[in-house]
Amino acid sequence: MTDSLVAAIDQGTTSTRCLLFDRAGRMVSMAQTEHRQHYPRPGWVEHDAIEVWRNVQRVVPRALRQSGATPSQVAALGLANQRETTVVWDPRDGTPYARAITWQDTRTSALVAALRRGPHAETFRRVSGLSPAPYFAGPRVRWLLDNVPGLRDRAEEGNALFGTMDSWLVWNLTGGPDGGLHVTDVTNASRTMLMDLRTLTWAPELLATLDIPPAMLPEIRGNADLGTSCRTLLPGVEIGAVLGDQQAALFGQTCFDAGEAKCTYGTGAFLLMNVGQHVVDSAEGLLPTVAYQLPGEVATYAVEGSIAMAGSLVQWLRDSLQMIDSAPEIETLARSVPDNGGCYVVPAFSGLFAPRWRPDARGVIVGLTSYVDKGHVARAVLEATAWQTRDVVDAVNRGSGLGLRRLKVDGGMTSNYLLMQCLADVLDVPVERPMVTETVSLGAAYLAGLAVGFWADLQDLRKNWHLAARWEPEMSAARRAREQVEWGRAVERAYGWSPE
């Protein structure tokens, strides 16, 4: 039996996983290892890139062993990765110049604030599609150039390479110091603030503004256009695809048509809608981004809205308020009451993200009366995730001119049936959970399999998507409208609380 499986690596924020899928898109095995989070200063979050690479080398053979497969049965490898996390390393021996600066790290705040005040903010928005924010990779490269002694000289000599996690791993997989390929893909590059979103090439004026030597940049390629094979780990296996994790989830959910969207509910929540072959501007507080680019085709774009707190709010209820023993038990508590009892929670712990972007907001709990008990608070916590999704969906609908007709969901919180029903109720569209909830890995596998002909076309992949559960809207229009007004009023109470 040859070529019976596709392997996916999901290099995530907290762990690195390897999953194997069969031709029907079913998961065959999975291996996972967590890596250390480094918090050297408030607001700094780092990963050790060497540790991450070692974990990749660990999980791939483990997943193979579990399934009883040999590398010769693997038709292709797909890689999905945490986005915006920045690595700079020495190509002569593969040593990173510093720990990887992750997407959660806010050390570039001052640098970005200066950019936003300066004359170039509009250029970044127009060319890269992104208004300068500490979230993106570009300013992190500049920070490293400014703060790692000697790095700028090394970079100009060609002895310092920049990459997001995908570049770092592909370089290592293809030989490292011994001829490793220095590339990235269009989705990861679209999160650097350095790429022209329309031409899909590095933008010289943006590089000049941030004073980043072009010599350190990887070559940008289509998601399934790497045309290279592993030299280690899975020797000879083609690296069929590389893409950012949220885009991978969109692909894994088979959102191939404009207007199709998915939302991943983890610590935070990420909603992406496929908007077709044209960039949709970020006027509504959403991020335009590349969804994917297939070989020989033009890019498909997406808009993205992220919610800072979803699962993390439930964790707060568990760890800080100790109202529940485990996160899933919030559902038991919330079901102990029929409604929120007039209580609303706005989880603006570090401001509000899309589409409101209010860094001055802080969390509030409003509507408290003697009637309200912990069941109502639990319900309000779940409803907050649903209403935040509604805010993003409204913005996406306005910005794209496409109306969301159903929402495909994945991530750990999809095990919460009450939340899923609440989502269907407030969005007024069906909410659908696919049978394979490991959509990030599945998306990477799908693209890699397409690249090597393991799957024939997008239609072939759609056939693999199976519905595991579906929640239909049950709330009356009148009640939905009333609740939306109440939610809006609650959000207003959160504005301006932070003195900053």
């Binding site: 029907a24 079913r26 998961m27 485990s326 996160a327 899933p328 038990e329 919030i330 559902e331 038991t332 750990g412 999809t414 095990s415 919460n416 049936y417 049978m435 394979v436 909830t437 199976h466 519905l467 595991a468 559960a469 579906r470 929640w471």
Partner: protein, 242 residues
């Protein structure tokens, strides 16, 4: 009985158990012997007292688990079962004499389906329910020729027959219901156990009778194997997360 035994970390003596439950000592002994045989209680060699396997810690989880927690631990395994078996998958817990569905994964057969959640089914007519009755050590009362409700010609309505089937289910580790609630639906179920061995729920695959039981009587062997393996996998997950 299990709940009572589980509530006392160091176990109970036979006489205490018989007295508390108003059973003859010989009856209590018979039940305990069965429970011991299937590994649901153990007997201290020195004191002769009965307790749950796995030591005092297991008393935390005697027969009940938060259904939402159970679902979150089970979800990856049940998805995988539905994908590989090609049938709908359900998780149920005992609610009085009914089984309550706490998790449902649609069958990937392309038919239009509705989420069955919170719905109750008569335990004696479903594979899920039969597993729960069997492993909870329940004995349906047999007062003066009292028969159980009938739903189809195949429903087991004689409590004595159900009891014999329970013993069989415990020995085999899975239950089967073939057209016993609805004439054209068959299901296979296996127990989900908490650390210590107590059955806290059941997982089932259910589908059209002719697909689940190609011979019209018995479920296909590979399906039984997959359901039992999923029961073990979810139990293993509970063990790891405990």
């Amino acid at each position: 009985m299990l709940r009572m035994v589980g509530a006392v970390p160091h176990g109970l003596a036979l006489q205490e158990i018989a007295d508390s439950l108003g059973l003859a000592k010989s009856t209590a002994h018979g039940i305990l012997a069965t429970l011991k045989h299937v590994g649901m209680v153990e007997q201290d060699r020195r004191t002769g007292r009965y307790r749950l396997p796995g030591g005092p810690a297991s008393s935390r989880l005697t027969g009940e688990i938060d259904p939402h927690l159970l679902r979150s631990y089970a979800m990856n395994w049940t998805d995988s079962l539905a994908a590989h078996a090609g049938e709908a998958v359900l998780i149920g817990v005992l609610a009085d004499t009914d089984v309550e569905v706490v998790h449902h994964v649609f069958s990937p057969d392309g038919t239009r389906q509705r989420l069955v959640f919170g719905k109750r089914f008569p335990a004696h007519a479903t594979a899920l329910g039969k597993v729960l009755l069997a492993f909870a050590g329940w004995r349906v009362p047999r007062e003066g020729g009292h028969w159980l409700p009938r739903y189809t010609s195949r429903t087991v309505v004689d409590p004595e027959q159900l009891h014999r089937e329970s013993l069989d289910i415990r020995a085999r580790g899975h239950a089967v219901a073939v057209g016993e609630l609805q004439p054209d639906i068959a299901s296979v179920a296996a127990p989900v156990r908490a650390p210590g061995g107590i059955c806290v729920g059941a997982v089932a695959a259910a589908g059209p009778l002719d697909r689940v039981c190609p011979d019209g009587r018995r479920p296909r062997a590979d399906l039984v194997e997959q359901v039992v393996a999923t029961g073990h996998a979810v139990s293993g997950q509970l063990e790891r997360e405990a």
